[in-house]
Amino acid sequence: MMGRTIFIDPGRCIGCQACVSACRECDSHRGTSMIHLDYTDEGHSVASLPTVCMHCEDPVAPCAEVCPADAILVTADGVVQQADTTRCIGCANCVNACPFGVPKIDLGAKLQLKCNLCYDRTAYGLAPMCATVCPTGALFYGTVEELQAERPGVQVADTFVFGETEVRTGVAMVVPAEKVRWPVPGGLPVVEINGKDVRR
């Protein structure tokens, strides 16, 4: 897991979409939000969940792996950048490859757009816009130690299971300490598979 990264805590999300608005305001792709805000149990609950780019580490960024134009770059600190505009051909391979449904395609410009962890801000020591403004801390930017200092006993997971494939991400999710102990199809985070703790 990266040193400083985003932690997503769905238990805190109030569905306010401040993250969505903040993402529109950040300078790297101003005017377009790269965050999906989903309602997970419609009709039964008001539960909601933001999805940002998970900055996959292993296998390394599927979106970058499949990019035929080598337009999606990964920085040394693990940030998967949005497509380089001088290289992107708008083919949408990345959209299809991403297990989290994150990248978007600007059809008019034939360009891919995705979260780059607000590299213009994080490079200068600031948190990404979404995690900066999140009123509840459902999006938290920092180290896992900083998170745990603020939220005693909190547990996180950065491994997701899609069928037979495990994906380890640079962005992590807060998980209930006692409840999630088995892989769930569809990308929910896991902390344990077949009795083995996958959180390293």
């Binding site: 305001e25 970058a64 040394a76 213009d120 200068y124 491994t159």
Partner: protein, 775 residues
């Protein structure tokens, strides 16, 4: 699983950003260290960050407005202010877009009758016409035939001027404000019990509590930034009790969610007190030392055993016992409430029943223990402190108290005989307009056509006026009814103070000059006063001059602002009143010495008797209609319904209905009350009681919740009963058109990009917050 070396090496090397090219905003932001600076400066890109606060709710989040080298506001940057610690909600993030919005009014609009179209006129013509109409109406029908309605989103300086303008320039008793629709029930209860009208504790005390009770407050949507305190308390092990007919985002994770029937709050809280007494959980030492009226309250509580309250409230009796034990046994407990218990014909009683519970358990006046009310409007707290309310003079003085009247007349330089008596409340003024007792009106910073209950009555009242002028920066539904509309500044184009829900006074700074043709509310009021012959009493150069008079006028009162100066506010990030001297640190927490603001220093507990809501249920109207807000919009929506991102987030209202009624999601349903009927798309969810339907109120007719709500008032606070009226639900054929937003959704400063996702658009969310993010 072992961490593999990153596979980035085989890709083209990413070139890090050049540190000398700091992204817009961040350099100046870093230089400021996140701390409010008394002088701000442009960075090397020519961008300036101006520290200020959000214009919307009572949390008053700190923010920076980004100003370009041309002096125009073009963005927002989070600010590490004590209150919000960088957090912002979607309204705060998008607020800056209204500053240079194409819908801004930039010239006075005028027409001599409502049959004519508006035409742009000069300031002189608009002011002269207004003054002539004021004089004509007052000469024909008396001074009180002309009224003034202010607003609680105005800076405190302007609310002070509203009260002074009405009484000194108009010489009319009829002045009130839209905070009357906000938290006056809590204000009335606090005044009765504690002798002071404000929350007892700062937000930061929430982090110290062991049990947090939130009653009638959809914190997640109405005050999202406050949730960081709620979750912070939860992180430290505090239990959370939420009292709300709906499963809101906060209620979803509460230890106890009491989904009671709307309009039954005081029965519930009195019954909780019943259990507290029965189980010996009262703090008798605290009560003996610090409270009066306890025996009477105790006797009344005996009449509300859980079995009776459970029937009234429609909840299990066990839940009442559970709440009582959890709250009373906690070493430190706090209660916060908002409109959910205040918007009732028994709003004051509801708040008093919460206060009795806090006092009986000794949870008052300690870090992590106390009570608070969350103000809906930015200056909901400060808006009434300095004389804008019909019965109050500056400093919270009573207009009926001869000594208070004398003090203010001395400051204003008028004879006491010239100071009018108390007027009536906002809704009562509309009734008087209907009866032609009030024939002329000036409205400042309010939109009653959307925000007052029983729209038909409101429309009739306003239509009956012979002259109506409105101050606004957008043409609101109410301004569209006026004869004269004065284009005035936004919060970013003037400086002034607001008091947030903690009674912390914060300073807003001017970020840009107003567009040509636009004047400050202060200038317009002073100019009108001058033309009405009271210019010598309104010789103010700007907000600072008004604030200095306000400070002096409040000196020695409970609402003492004397020690608060602009300079101190910029240095400290906010000071809670009372603050009697310039070396006083302010008073973030009340009653720490156990003394209240009554002369005897005691908490005056009040007996509360529950009674049913004013609109009776019958076979025709068996259900409860309750109203409220959605996170994307603010009050009447005049501001937020024009901002593309917020319109996209929540484009229209809905009717939230339990699945047991058999409606399908999105199906047109007609909500019928005794005032009328309207059609909304159904939002079918288990997150609401089966006997209750919820409609958010930010939209005008034909989808206005307030065309359906009842204009019954609390007899003491005169707050309307927005939160409960009898209704029924019917199938409907089609959904009424929602008026198109005045401008197409989208950012003002940046062109829209065409973006698509590969998955289909998500359906309407269960919360009814319109749509999920769709690009």
């Amino acid at each position: 699983m072992t961490a593999e070396p990153r596979a980035a090496a085989d890709r083209r090397t990413f070139i890090p950003l050049d540190p000398s090219l700091a992204p817009p905003g961040t350099r100046a932001f870093r230089d400021a260290g996140g701390i409010p600076a008394d002088r701000w400066h442009a960075d090397q890109n020519g961008e300036t960050l101006v520290p200020t606060h959000c214009c919307f709710c009572g949390v008053q989040c700190g923010m920076y407005l980004r100003v370009d080298r041309g002096g125009k506001v073009f963005g927002v940057e989070p600010r590490n202010h004590d209150i919000n610690r960088m957090r912002l909600c979607p309204k705060g993030i998008n607020a800056y877009q209204q500053v240079n919005h194409p819908d801004r009014l930039t010239a006075p609009l005028m027409r001599r009758s409502r049959d004519e179209e508006f035409r742009e006129v000069s300031w002189d013509e608009a002011l002269d016409f207004t003054v002539a109409e004021v004089k004509r109406i007052q000469q024909a029908y008396g001074n009180d035939a002309f009224g003034l309605l202010g607003g609680a989103s105005l800076f405190s300086e302007k609310t002070y001027l509203v009260g002074k303008f009405a009484r000194v320039a108009l010489k009319s008793r009829h002045v009130d404000y839209n905070g009357r629709l906000c938290m006056v029930s809590a204000a009335g209860a606090n005044k009765l019990a504690f002798g002071i009208d404000r929350a007892g504790n700062p937000f930061s005390d929430i982090l110290l509590t062991d049990c947090l009770l939130i009653a009638g407050s959809n914190v997640g949507e109405c005050f999202p930034v406050m949730t960081q305190y709620v979750w912070g308390a939860r992180d430290r092990g505090a239990s959370l009790i939420v009292v709300d007919p709906r499963e809101t985002a906060i209620a979803r994770t509460a230890d106890i969610h009491v989904a009671l029937k709307p309009g039954t709050d005081s029965a519930f809280f009195t019954s909780v007190l019943n259990v507290v007494i029965a189980e010996g959980l009262t703090d008798e030492n605290f009560l003996a030392a610090h409270a009066t009226g306890w025996e009477e309250v105790k006797a009344k509580a005996a009449e509300y055993p859980p079995s009776r309250a459970a029937r009234i409230c429609g909840i299990p009796a066990e839940q009442i016992v559970q709440v009582a034990r959890t709250f009373a046994r906690a070493p430190k407990a706090m209660a916060w409430h908002a409109r959910g218990i205040e918007h009732h014909s028994q709003g004051v009683e509801n708040c008093l029943s919460v206060i009795s519970l806090c006092a009986a358990t000794g949870h008052i006046g300690k870090p992590g223990a106390g009570y608070g009310t969350i103000t809906g409007q930015g200056n909901g707290q400060g808006g009434r402190e300095h004389g804008q309310k019909s019965d109050l003079l500056p400093g919270g003085r009573s207009i009926t108290n001869p000594e208070h009247r004398r003090q203010i007349c001395e400051i204003w330089g008028i004879e006491e005989s010239e100071l009018p008596p108390a007027g009536t409340s906002m809704m009562e003024m509309v009734w008087q307009m209907q009866r032609r007792e009030i024939r002329g009106l000036i409205g400042i910073c309010n939109n009653p056509f959307v925000s007052l209950p029983n729209y038909r009555v409101v429309k009739e009242g306003y239509d009956a006026t012979e002259f109506h002028a409105q101050f606004d920066f957008f043409l609101s539904e109410t301004a569209a009814n006026a004869h004269v509309v004065f284009p005035v500044t936004t919060w970013a184009e003037d400086e002034g103070v607001m008091a947030n829900a903690e009674a912390r006074v914060v300073k807003h700074n001017k970020a840009q000059d107003p567009p040509p043709g636009v004047r400050t509310d202060t200038w317009v009021m002073c100019e009108l006063a001058r033309r009405l012959g009271a210019g010598d009493k309104f010789d103010f150069s700007g907000s600072r001059a008004v604030f200095d008079e306000l400070r002096t006028a409040s000196a020695g009162t409970v609402n003492d602002y004397y020690g608060i100066t602009y300079e101190r506010l910029e240095e400290t990030g906010g000071i809670a009143w009372p603050c009697p001297s310039t070396d006083h640190p302010g008073t973030p927490r009340l009653f720490e010495d156990g003394s209240t603001y009554h002369p005897d220093g005691k908490i005056h507990l009040q007996v509360v008797e529950w009674h049913p809501p004013m609109d009776p249920y019958d076979d025709e109207h068996p259900m409860s209609l309750t109203t409220g807000r959605t996170v994307a919009h603010f009050l009447s929506g005049n501001q937020t319904r024009r901002l593309g991102a917020l319109v996209e987030q929540t484009p229209r209202p809905w009717a939230e209905i339990h699945p047991s009624h058999g409606f399908r999601n999105g199906e047109p349903v007609r909500i019928v009350t005794r005032r009328g009927s309207e059609v909304f798309p159904a939002l079918v969810t288990e997150a609401i009681r089966p006997d209750t339907v919820f409609v958010p109120y930010h939209w005008p007719v034909p989808t206005a919740a307030n065309a359906l709500t009842i204009d019954a008032l609390d007899p003491r606070s005169k707050i309307p009963e927005y939160k409960v009226c009898a209704c029924r639900i019917e199938h409907a054929d089609r959904i009424d058109e929602v008026p198109a937003p005045p401008v197409a959704p989208g950012h003002v400063a940046y062109p829209e990009t065409q973006v698509s996702r590969t998955d289909p658009l998500p359906p309407t969310s269960p919360q009814g917050r319109g749509t999920s993010e769709r690009s």
